[in-house]
Amino acid sequence: MRIACPHCGLRGVDEFAYFGDASVTRPAADAAETAFADYVYLRDNPAGAHRELWSHALGCQSWLVVTRDTRSHAIETVEAARDVALARTSEAQS
């Protein structure tokens, strides 16, 4: 598998470290304990399109949000996680 880092270009999967589901969001500090438990432990785990976090660990250290098909390993999009997170924050504020 090769992942197109938006900063560095296409690189082999061995440059990247996987973290997991990018669709879960850390609850607010005052959220209930169960909300944190769901965040930490529960996953959709779809067979198909999956938004997931990777770190370009042996590259530019950027965290990435990769949309990938878990059946074919075909990658649809790769975004800088920071951009996605900033968009999420501004969405939440607006």
């Binding site: 061995d14 042996l58 590259g59 530019c60 250290q61």
Partner: protein, 189 residues
Amino acid sequence: MPEPLLARSALRAHVAPEIAAPAPGVVLRERTDLTLASVAAFKGREAELADAVRSAYGIELPTTPTRVAAGEVAFVWAGPGKWLATATGPVDFSTLPAAVADQSDGRSVLSVSGERARETLATLIAIDLHPRAFTSGDAALTHAASISVHLWQTDDAPTYEIAVFRSYAATLWRWLVHAGQSRGIDAKL
């Protein structure tokens, strides 16, 4: 009063073997004369940093994986909003309006050049170094086998410079020598 401290490389011949080759296909050396610094722009102050670099060194900060050099100073892209500043000889980068950390000792820089340099590097580094894909002025953050490296090409000989965390330098040297042996490597400290 103690004696002044001598600066020393991370390499010694018994962990970084020297090899002579009469007509070398690849030449391996250490660059010991470089000043290095990590430079990262603060939020909203990217333009200020770019201006400062431009006015101090006449360099346009690269925003893609490239290296821009002017005289003895160069800025190598090191990730979004981050650079590795390099200079031949002592230059103080800490006055730049950015997060600056001295890396002159944190990295060892190895220079690999010669007509079989690409072939040698292809055994350790998995990015495409073919001239159509990577040429003088290009830079990359990648790995040599399992070792993180920051490399850039400085001329069409071709010459590559590879910055590696200092503690890994001896291993990387040995691995380069091993890979270069069938390709006529000349390695001298």
